[in-house]
């Protein structure tokens, strides 16, 4: 039977790394994940569910305590990643720091402002107001791609993620363990964005999106051709083409494609393309400015002219400005047609066969865009009426999420021991998990794939060896087995250093200080009297030669006592031992000064104190009390350091110098006596200075 030992539990809490999706666990939308390790809490993204409005659309924040979160990292500006941020910053007790990239912050401001306006119409229970959003801006800090930041021992930096302008993947390092959170990413370079980078360092845990599960995107050229052909078909048959898109992100890519296509096809020039988004217009400046986050191609182009100045696309302010005559192409937000302009246009166009809608992005379950993909006979309008669905519905995915191929390559490139799948529908996620598992079935380095549900934690254990670096004076000699090592251990950001105190300021930002204490107390008696008593306290009392007639003593080699008129000045360098010495010296001082009995000491004794004689006298008194007067043998036989006794026939010899007792025949008596003498000695004799 093995014994249960508490120390032998395989893991302890300090090695536990916990990843908990508070949203986007086996679902898409409201991305929000909690990373906990070594008492650090990091929140990754704070989105809202596009399909659910109000508080219900938020991630499960109440599963954690916001005030304990140190850091919040936002990967990109999409609502399902940043939509809950103003609420989280303004309406919860969160006190930590928030980081996002420059471009994300710039667009976040306008995107959410637009979201507030749009949702104002549809829902009453606003999560936050424009004012909340503006206030939140001041709390958001920016980080440049590849720039390293350190917050309370958490080191993090970000890589380009493709997907949308400013989208980042965050690498987080705590105590040597690295976690990479991809957010949404795409490994495919498109017209303006670069492909997601593959980090040069290998993470221990990869939290990756699983949006597309095991699907594989069609090649970019094919997809673009299919898109442009579909658009052309619709307008050629005299229909109106609706492309519902997220105002920012993929829309810019589609605009670039359409503008380019129209430029190459003069026959289409009389068909207008509208882009119905004031938001996108506002954010064009951001696209023009943060070109550093785009690919090389576009940066070169930007040096000459601005590719985001479209020649064939006009901006549409709203329905009231839209002159709906004849064929046209309209891109309108929101992308999933939950409400707003794209919904309005859809409802007014949906019963004409010639018209067509092209769903170009990813759609979340529960939105109209997702619903019409199943080609229903009828749809329910905003006002609740059923309207027939006659227009053509095409689905061409332009959403820059990684497909199975990209995802699998990405995982293979980094070979993390653990992969956590998030941001994907349960079924898709399961398929991806199975596929990845199959891939690494026979691999010598197996990969563990996790796909936690919301609020379910993935618990991983990282047994971190605590390594310390010995530096400076202590490290001058190589360590040998059995050597003793004493020094100051400095722990900073999970790094340990061992240093000699004198090296502290050279190797750290810490400094050693010296504290001197000076205490004054009234004292009327003479210093020699004090010295007499101090001699009883300590065997280390030195008279200090002082100038101008003052007298001084040094007790325990640490406390200096100086008498000046009726004051006594005690001075010592502070440390716990010296403080204790000083306190005992003070006790003597106070006694001498206040106890009249204490002053009644014969002058000659003060002049020539002899503690050894006193000890001998007291010892004799004690022995007399113990064994009786008669036990003393002939006093002549006792030397100056020797007392001889005879008790019950045993001969006892006591050496008063060494305090060793020898007793022929009875060891117990000798032992007992030695203890008694030791006690007497420590009571009478002064304290030896260590």
């Amino acid at each position: 039977m093995a014994e249960f030992e508490v120390e032998e539990t395989p893991h302890n809490d300090s090695e536990l790394l916990k990843i908990t999706p508070l949203g986007a666990g086996q679902e898409v939308g409201r991305s929000c994940h909690l990373l906990e390790f070594k008492e650090k809490k990091i929140m990754l993204d704070c989105g809202i569910h596009p399909g659910i409005s109000g508080l219900a659309g938020l991630p499960y924040i109440d599963f954690t305590e916001p005030e304990k979160i140190d850091l919040l990292l936002v990967t990109h500006f999409h609502l399902d990643h940043a939509g809950g941020l103003p609420w989280f910053l303004q309406k919860t007790t969160f006190k930590g720091r928030v980081f996002m990239t420059h471009a994300t912050k710039a667009i976040y401001r306008w995107l959410l402002s637009d979201y507030i306006k749009v949702s104002n119409i549809s829902t009453e229970d606003q999560l936050y107001t424009e004012a909340d959003l503006e206030d939140s801006m001041a709390r958001i800090e920016t980080i440049n791609f590849h720039e390293e930041k350190m917050v309370g021992g958490i080191k993090f930096w970000c890589y380009h993620a493709g997907h949308v302008l400013g989208a980042a993947m965050f690498m987080i390092q705590i105590a040597g363990v690295r976690v990479l959170y991809t957010g949404d990413y795409s490994r495919e370079e498109d017209r303006h964005l670069m492909a997601a980078e593959i980090p040069a360092v290998r993470p221990d845990v990869l939290i990756t999106e699983a949006t597309y599960g095991t699907h594989i995107h069609e090649p970019r050229e094919e997809r673009e051709a299919r898109f442009t052909n579909t658009v052309q078909d619709i307008v050629n048959r005299g229909g109106r083409c609706l492309i519902p898109v997220f105002a920012l992100g993929r829309a810019q890519e589609l605009l670039l494609i359409l503008d380019d296509y129209w430029a190459n096809h003069p026959e289409l020039h009389d068909i207008p393309i509208y882009y119905a988004s004031s938001l996108a217009k506002k954010c064009m400046a951001v696209y023009q400015t943060y070109s550093n986050a785009m690919n090389q191609k576009i940066q070169k182009q930007l040096n000459i002219s601005n590719p985001f100045q479209f020649k064939h696309i006009s901006n549409l302010k709203g329905m009231e400005h839209f002159d709906d005559v004849g064929p046209s192409v309209v891109m309108a937000s929101p992308g999933m047609m939950q409400s707003g302009l794209s919904r309005e246009l859809f409802e007014s166009w949906c019963n004409d066969r010639r018209n067509g809608v092209i769903v170009a992005g990813y759609c979340v379950e529960g939105t109209l865009a997702k619903h019409i993909l199943s080609e229903p006979e009828e749809v329910v309008s905003m006002s609740g009426q059923k309207i027939p669905l006659k227009l053509s519905v095409d689905y061409i995915s332009f959403s820059a999420h990684a497909d199975y191929k990209q995802c699998s390559e990405f995982v293979r490139a980094m070979k993390p021991p653990h992969v956590v799948l998030v941001h994907g529908e349960a079924n898709e996620m399961n398929r991806l998990k199975l596929a990845l598992n199959r891939e690494y079935e026979d691999d010598p380095e197996p990969i563990q794939i996790h796909n936690p549900k919301n609020t379910e934690s993935v618990q991983l254990y990282f047994k971190g060896e605590k390594m310390a670096k010995v530096m400076g004076e202590l490290a001058t000699t190589k360590p040998k087995h059995g050597d003793k090592l004493s020094g100051i251990l400095v722990k900073r950001n999970f790094n340990y250093h061992i240093l000699a105190p004198s090296d502290l300021s050279a190797h750290t930002n810490l400094t050693m200080s010296t504290l001197t204490q000076r205490q004054s107390v009234t004292f009327t008696a003479s210093l020699s009297l004090l010295k007499y008593y101090l001699h009883q306290l300590s065997d280390d009392v030195v008279v200090l030669p002082l100038s101008n007639g003052r007298e001084g003593l040094r007790v325990f080699g640490a406390v200096t006592v100086v008498k000046e008129q009726n004051m006594l000045l005690l001075e010592w360098t502070a440390n716990p031992v010296n403080d204790m010495y000083a306190d005992s010296v003070l006790a003597i001082v106070l006694r001498v000064d206040t106890d009249p009995q204490a002053r009644k000491i014969p002058v000659q004794r003060i002049a020539k104190p002899d503690l050894n004689r006193e000890f001998r006298e007291r010892l004799e008194v004690m022995l007399e009390g113990m064994f009786g007067e008669e036990s003393f043998k002939d006093p002549t036989s006792s030397g100056p350091d020797q007392i001889n006794l005879e008790v019950d026939g045993f001969e006892i010899h006591i050496n008063t110098k060494t305090r060793v007792v020898s007793c022929a025949g009875d060891e117990n008596v000798a032992e007992m006596l030695e203890e008694s003498i030791r006690r007497l000695y420590t009571t009478i004799m002064p304290v030896e200075t260590v």
């Binding site: 912050k105 440049n144 605590k466 003793k484 810490l510």
Partner: protein
Amino acid sequence: MTSIIKFTPLAGALNEGPNCYLLQVDEFTFLLDCGWSEDFDMDVINNVMKHISQVDAMLLTFPDIQHIGALPYLAGKIGLNCAIYATVPVYKMGQMFLYDLYQSHHNIEDFDKFTLDDVDSAFDKITQVKHNQTITLKDKGLGLSITPVHAGHMIGGTAWKIIKDDEEGEIVYAVDFNHKRERHLNGCSLFESSGETWSGKPPQLMITDGYNAMYQQARRKLRDEQLLTRIIETMRGDGNVLIAVDTAGRVLELAILLDQLWRDTRSGLCAYSLAMINNVTYNVVEFAKFMVEWMSDKIINSFTDQRNNPFHFKHLKLCHNLGDLAQVPQPKCVLASTADMECGFARQLFIRWAADPRNTVIITSRSTKGTLSRTLVDDPTVSRLKLEMKKRVPIIGEELDQYERNRAAKKATEVKVFEEESSDESDAEEPVNTIQNRHDFIVPNEVPKKSGSFFKQLKKTFPMYPFIEPRIKWDEYGEIINPDDFRMSNIIQVDEEVKAEIIKTKMEVDKTDSNPLQSVVEEAPTKCVTETVFIEMKCTISFIDFEGRSDGESMLKIIQQIKPREVIVVRADTKTTKYYAEAIRKALTSSGVEVFTPAVNEVVDTTKERHIYQVKLKDSLVGTLRFSNARDSEICWIDAKVDCSENVNDSSKVLTDSQIREAKEIADKEEFTMDHDGEDIIASQKSSNAINTQVANIIPSLEPLSIEDTPGHQTCFINELRLSDFKQVLTKEGYQAEFIGGVLVCNNMLAIRRNQQGHIDLEGTLTEEYYAIRDLLYQQYAVV
């Protein structure tokens, strides 16, 4: 282990020459900057050439000539081939600086130091990085990493940190930094007390300049006011203002400042014109627009909140040549490059405007000794100035005929000789040849009386430049607009003067060929003439510091905060260097700093025996530790026994990077020695074994000592107490505390003093408060 650190200045030490330093860290050699002087002193190049073969990487700090000037020469003429690291703005603006430098010289003389292609090929080698990005070096530099941090001064300005093995103190190369926040830049983040960019350890070595050590500038507000007054006074007096500034660095700060002044309706400036002129103005401003994220928080926030890009100028007109500038109505305030006025439009305008007492020339930087700007700064009252004036003039008359003849003849021979060669090549060579040929016969022909120094007695000023006074035409709607003014300047204009277009075309065409350059040259053959002119200095000269560098006092304070263990002072004249070195020694006496002041080519060897080894802390030991907090660290006293017994089979171990790297290093070394033995194949196998065994073997672990064995130790009080902080603590605890002559007096009974060395003195009579306050005082320290 020894860590080799050797530092050799190749220029700019004990003088104000350009920055160019060689730094060897172990086996790896860095070239820190490679600047060139205004006069293209070949000594610098020759010096660099001696060492160029050993350079493994080059680190650039700022985009100006002072810091990158020699780069195209090295890349073009010597074939420099090493990694170069620079931030994105230094990369972009550096190109602008060099294009402008080339063009400024090309406009007036035959410039042979480098070509635009050299600039491009040099910049192709640059790896663009971001601030606070850690770059881990590979191969020879294994175990080294470099990090650029924000240094202010110019956009993208960098101080480099070189870190070895994550551990031993860093090496910091920080020159020309600016700690003050400016309009377009944040102050440098060299000494952030929050410790975010700083590892919390004082650096091993700091290489810094003493350029400003004995210099204090006026407060920014004062300087801004001075500038405004100067401009307004001059403009009201119907004079022009020439502001000599650099191409793409400090000019941004001034451009923003001036545009803001012009926007401000109260300033009364909007009636006058404001222009910026250099050969790449348009690109500089465009690039600046793309670099908002590198600028000050204020600009970033204003962009994020209101989408205001400060480089969308409202009043500042961008000019690329004097023709453009002539279109700008008088009186005008012109920002012109270069800051030293040795070449470029600033010099041309100066020559033209200096004789008019209404005009003002504002110099914004002291530049180096010997330059026109410095001459004027040092002696602003000079009444007459002798200047060498170079210009490029079209060839006419007889000369032109001869030129044509010569060229035809040349072409004929060329065709014969290079018949087999590709046409590209001969085309490319041609302009160079023609220029040289021209020069040969022009000198005796046209400028015999002007060129030599024999003719000093000629006091009359010569006609300076073909200058056409623009006649402004008006009609009832106001000035008649010239559509060319509003044309996007990237459209190629067939203007003989528009040399700036060459550059732009080059960038568009992306160096497919150099035809446009050639065509311009061929269309109008030109020659270069040099003349010495005497300029009557009638205009007002004033120097207003817009250099954007920290002043001497602040530099010292910053060093004091950083507390480096060794300092190397460069780039200041001997007197200033010595003064600064002494000041640093004095300021850092407590930590025993070593200060070096090497001369050019003098090697500073700060190689040190490294005392460092790694130990493993056993869980049993960690369990006994009781940490106390001190600043951002936790500390405790540790008494332990070294255990070298191997317990290798610890499979769950997570290796830290540095460990693996260390092991690899050892493995690599082994491989290296093996190579010598000629056993390559085995060596590589061994090295992989070495990784496995070394990692497990070399690290001893620490285990707790039994109580009897624990030696006592002197208690340490750790922290540096500031009395003012402690006063607050006392007040909070309800004690009366006040400063009387630097002594903190509590309840009129206790005195707390702090002496020079940081010792704290607690003095008082025996009272209860004494002990209570002492306890509070102790709480301010981590006591171990």
